[in-house]
């Protein structure tokens, strides 16, 4: 009974839904504030200390706004997408090892589930665009699927590259074992540096941020697949996207930076694993923000071109390296 209650609390409060909802909003704030600093602006300032509550204030405000569904839209689908998006991102974060080496959900092969979830996000984007029955969302949806063709293989390859060691030594595809193998040596401090770079680019594309914000390019197609969403639905989608941001940063930290392992390999710090995990995720987030600030948006054909000419071959190369090199060392 008590165990059930604890499990429920683990899912709903910590380290599950509520924790990640707050973390997602916090990450949005860091992203905006740091982006603003890079651009010589002040960024969010008024809601809370240093504008810390601005994302939350935006969320509350959007919840109170009028909610419009376009006349021609596929109403049930259109209205359910925000709920699905939020549910999906909240489901995804349960796999992250926030405290201890394993997440709330952990089983053999959960890495595959995580990669599948990443693809599901794009399917939701696609459905959102098409159920809107409007031109800009239609173009945006089309672009998001085209973009998926570009970055999905590199993303999966980089994730598998991070798991190469555990696959070979333990035959395991579990996030927990990936984290445990990094207790002495983070995987980024080796050939995985390349995998990490590929993961960052792919994550940027998955999150639809500059230079890959093509599906929601503001100056081209208004807000892309999000154009017709308003009010509560938009608030939920934005929250889902924030959580997705936190999820991908967390995934990067887990796979390449040792997740909740102590800050320096071998150094047992006083910090709890949760704080270490969050700090590492923030490092990933800051890198993503720098990428966002330093580039302009690519065109969809350039993006797919770039992905297939460079990203896919390099990611396959790094996967091969990740598989071969440890073996060579062992021999």
């Amino acid at each position: 009974m008590i165990q059930d209650l604890i499990d429920l609390l683990r899912i709903i409060v910590f380290p599950g839904f509520l924790f990640f909802a707050v973390l997602g909003l916090f990450f949005e704030w860091i992203d905006r504030k740091f982006y603003a600093k890079l651009q010589n602006r002040v960024g969010p300032l008024y809601a809370g200390p240093w504008g810390l509550f601005q994302p939350f204030a935006d969320f509350v405000k959007l919840m109170a706004k009028e909610d419009i569904v376009p006349e021609g839209a596929d109403r049930p689908l259109f209205s359910s997408i925000p709920v699905f998006a939020l549910a999906l991102s909240l489901f995804a974060v349960l796999f992250l090892p926030v405290c201890g080496a394993q997440g709330v959900l952990s089983f053999e092969g959960d890495l595959i589930v995580v990669t599948v979830i990443l693809t599901f996000f794009v399917i939701l984007v696609f459905l959102a665009g098409f159920s809107s029955a409007s031109r800009y969302p239609g173009v945006g949806a089309e672009r998001s699927v085209l973009q998926l063709l570009g970055y999905e293989i590199p993303l999966v390859a980089s994730v598998l590259g991070a798991a190469a060691v555990t696959i070979q030594t333990e035959g395991s595809l579990q996030i927990k074992s990936i984290v445990e193998t990094q207790s002495s040596w983070w995987s980024i401090l080796g050939i995985q540096a390349l995998g990490f770079a590929i993961f960052l680019l792919a994550a940027q594309a998955e999150l639809e941020r500059v230079p890959f914000d093509i599906p929601e390019a503001e100056t081209e197609i208004v807000a892309g697949w999000l154009t017709e969403y308003s009010g509560k639905k938009l608030a939920l989608i934005r929250l889902a996207k924030d959580i997705e941001l936190a999820f991908l940063c967390g995934l990067g930290a887990t796979l390449f930076l040792g997740g909740p392992q102590p800050i320096l390999p071998g150094f047992v710090g006083a910090l709890s694993s949760t704080i270490i995990f969050v700090i590492k995720s923030i490092i990933v987030l800051l890198i993503l923000t720098i990428i966002r600030a330093a580039m302009s948006r690519l065109r969809i054909d350039q993006m797919v071109n770039f992905a297939w000419k460079y990203l896919v071959p390099i990611s396959i190369l790094q996967l091969l390296l990740a598989v071969m090199v440890p073996r060579l060392i062992v021999i």
């Binding site: 890079l38 173009v139 690519l298 969809i300």
Partner: protein, 392 residues
């Protein structure tokens, strides 16, 4: 896949002013485009007929919020053309400085907008931050940031004393350094080049045939610049280079504008150095003799023409303004149509459109009414409109 029409505007984040571009799209490729302007008619020319010449200067300045000095200058030029009096040399130099500062501010503004159109917000923020310097300098000597009220018939209203001239020079040095940095950034940053190279091609013969003006024409290799071709103010005494590029694409327009900004900075420096002393205005009669006058100058966007017909009263009989955007708009459908190897993507539409630096508030002076469903068009006279819509 069949051809879909995607309307861009009259309300769209990429377009800051009301205009409609209907793009005919096949997949991601634009196969044709149609323009509609006329959402923003303000009746400025008509209003001008009810005001005196001096009052008109302040209306003229409000034709465009960005190149206000240019329109006021053109109107004074046209009026002085009729009056036929020489204005003091020092006033010519101050006018030149005003026009060039205006150009610097306008080109920097455009650079920011262009960066925003291709999704490079960081460059946008930096450029607009530095644009504030030139805004401050303009405010310093005219008294206003936007509508300057600098020009008057027979000269200028404000002199540039020594200490203000020094302040201007100091800012010019700072800006020079910054603009060179941005030029390097635009040339080196790969993603900018990927978005601008080979986009929005306007071949030289098209540019000439479609009467393109200003940086749009000069980026297509047409060395047309009113400042050099028909010198006015102090442009005949100050050496400067007419910047042209011949790649005919958005990059060329980007570089033409950046290089022109550098040219403008050197013109301002030179003008301050050579500025003669003396009065800055002469008194002219309120009543302008019968006659016709034309004022033309190179606005940041291209050639502006003001035509004034006077009938011997203190109000103009007719005042006609041709803003550069009207001349450049014709090139837009050509730039936006894929033909042969030249492919236009939807993503290229905003930056291509922005590359002519459109200013519709200058441009819109629609006088024909069109019934879209039947294609019938007609003109309403003032008395007809009055009969239909005015209630007294």
């Amino acid at each position: 896949m069949s051809v879909v029409d995607i309307p861009i505007g009259p309300q769209h984040p990429a377009i800051k002013e009301p205009l409609n571009i209907t793009c005919y799209v096949d997949g991601e490729h634009v196969v044709g485009a149609k323009l509609r302007i006329g959402y923003n008619h303000r009746g400025i020319e008509k209003a001008g007929e009810y005001q005196t010449y001096i009052q008109n200067l302040y209306i003229a300045e409000r034709i465009c919020g960005i190149c206000g000095i240019v329109h006021a200058f053109c109107l004074t030029q046209a009026t002085e053309d009729i009056i036929g009096k020489e204005i003091p040399k020092r006033a010519d130099y101050i006018r030149t400085i005003g026009l060039e500062l205006n150009r610097i501010h306008s080109h920097l503004l455009w650079l920011g907008v262009a960066a925003h159109e291709i999704g490079f917000d960081t460059l946008f923020m930096y450029v607009w931050r530095d644009r504030e310097m030139v805004m401050d300098v303009i405010e310093d000597f005219t008294g206003n940031r936007v509508t300057y009220a600098l020009m008057t018939i027979g000269g200028v209203r404000r002199d540039i004393p020594q200490e203000k001239a020094e302040r201007i020079l100091k800012v010019m040095d700072l800006l020079d350094e910054k603009v060179r940095k941005y030029k390097k950034m635009c040339l080196d940053e790969r993603t900018i080049r990927m978005r601008c190279d080979g986009v929005g091609i306007l071949r030289k013969e098209d540019a000439i045939a479609l009467c393109a003006v200003g940086p749009t024409a000069r980026a297509s290799g047409v060395p047309f610049d009113v400042r050099a071709d028909d010198p006015h103010a102090a442009y005949d005494e100050i050496p400067f280079r007419v910047v042209t590029y011949d790649t005919c694409d958005v990059t060329a327009r980007l570089l033409v504008r950046i290089d022109e900004t550098l040219e403008s900075i050197s013109i301002v420096r030179e003008a301050i150095k050579r500025m003669p002393s003396g009065p800055v205005r002469i008194r002219v009669p309120r009543v302008v003799p019968t006659g016709e006058g034309v004022g033309r100058t190179e606005a940041p966007r291209g050639e502006v023409i003001h035509y004034v017909r006077a009938n011997g009263t203190e109000r103009p009989f007719r005042w006609k303004v041709r803003a550069p955007t009207l001349a450049n708009l014709l090139s837009i459908p050509v730039m936006l149509t894929s033909r042969g190897d030249y492919v236009v993507n939807i993503a290229d539409v905003p930056i291509t459109f922005a590359s002519i630096d459109p200013c519709l508030s200058c441009t819109d002076r629609a006088i024909r009414f069109i019934d879209v469903s039947s294609g019938k068009s007609w003109v309403w006279t003032f008395s007809q409109i009055k009969r239909m819509y005015w209630r007294d």
